[in-house]
C-alpha cells in the first residue's frame, strides 16, 4: 500500500495490489486509462495524487468502487508534529 502526504491528510492506494490481482503491468494499465507509465509509477509510489477523473478511470478499469482503491486518511495534530515531515 502506498501513501502520500497532503496538508491535512494522506492519500493511499492499492493500485499495485489490484494490478497483481488482474495480472496487469504498469504499461498495460497506463495504456488502458490513457496516461504514461511514469504516472502510474508515481501514483503507486505515492508521489502523485491522481485527479478525480483519473482515479475513477483506474477504479473503473478494475471494476470496483473508487474507495476500494483510493482512501484518504486524516493526520491527527499530534501525529503531524511527530517528525513525519522535515
Amino acid at each position: 500500500m502506498n501513501e502520500n502526504t497532503g496538508p491535512g491528510g494522506r492519500m493511499k492506494n492499492k493500485i499495485k495490489v489490484f494490478r497483481a490481482m488482474n495480472d496487469l503491468t504498469q504499461e498495460d494499465l497506463a495504456r488502458d486509462v490513457g496516461v504514461t507509465r511514469q504516472t502510474i509509477l508515481a501514483i503507486e509510489k505515492g508521489k502523485y495524487d491522481p485527479s478525480l477523473e483519473l482515479a475513477f478511470r483506474i477504479s473503473s478499469r478494475f471494476g470496483v468502487h473508487i474507495e476500494e482503491i483510493f482512501t484518504y486518511e486524516e493526520i491527527l495534530a499530534d501525529e503531524k508534529g511527530s517528525g513525519d515531515n522535515p
Binding site: V35, T36, T39
Partner: protein, 140 residues
C-alpha cells in the same frame, strides 16, 4: 505515429532550423530566421498531434505548469533587476565597468519585455480564472 518517430522528426526540424540560421547569418536575413522559428514550432505542434501514444498526461501538465510558473517568477525578478540596473547607467549617460551607455539602453527594451510578460501573464490568469469558474456571484 510512434513516439520515437515524433522525436526523429523533431531532430530533423532542429537540423533544418540550424541550416536556416547559418544561411540567415550569411545573407543577413533576420526575418527569414524569425519566420523559420515560428513555422518550425507550428510544424512540431502539428506532428505532435499525430502521435498515437500518450506523450503528455495530467501529471506532465502539472509538472510543466509548476516549472513554468517558477521559471516566470525567477526570470521575471532577474530580468527586471538587471533592467533597472541598466536603466540607472543609461539615465546617467556614463560608462560603468564593461557596460557602455549604448549597451545600457538595451535595459529599456528589456524592461518593456518584462512588462509585456506581466501583461501576458495577467491576461492568461484572467482567462483561466474564467475558464475554471472563479469569480461570479455567490448563490447563497
Amino acid at each position: 505515429m510512434k513516439q520515437h518517430t515524433y522525436f526523429l522528426l523533431l531532430g530533423f526540424i532542429a537540423l533544418i532550423e540550424v541550416g536556416i540560421f547559418i544561411w540567415s547569418v550569411e545573407h543577413l536575413e533576420p526575418l527569414v530566421m524569425t519566420g523559420a522559428v515560428i513555422i518550425g514550432v507550428l510544424a512540431a505542434w502539428i506532428i505532435r498531434q499525430l502521435v498515437d501514444e500518450v506523450v503528455a498526461d495530467e501529471r506532465t501538465h502539472l509538472i510543466t505548469e509548476k516549472a513554468s510558473l517558477r521559471t516566470l517568477q525567477v526570470l521575471g525578478v532577474i530580468l527586471f533587476s538587471y533592467a533597472l540596473g541598466g536603466a540607472v547607467i543609461s539615465l546617467r549617460g556614463e560608462v560603468f565597468g564593461p557596460f557602455s551607455y549604448q549597451v545600457a539602453r538595451f535595459a529599456f527594451i528589456l524592461m518593456f519585455i518584462v512588462f509585456l510578460m506581466i501583461i501576458v501573464y495577467v491576461i492568461f490568469l484572467s482567462w483561466y480564472e474564467r475558464k475554471y469558474g472563479a469569480g461570479g456571484e455567490d448563490e447563497e
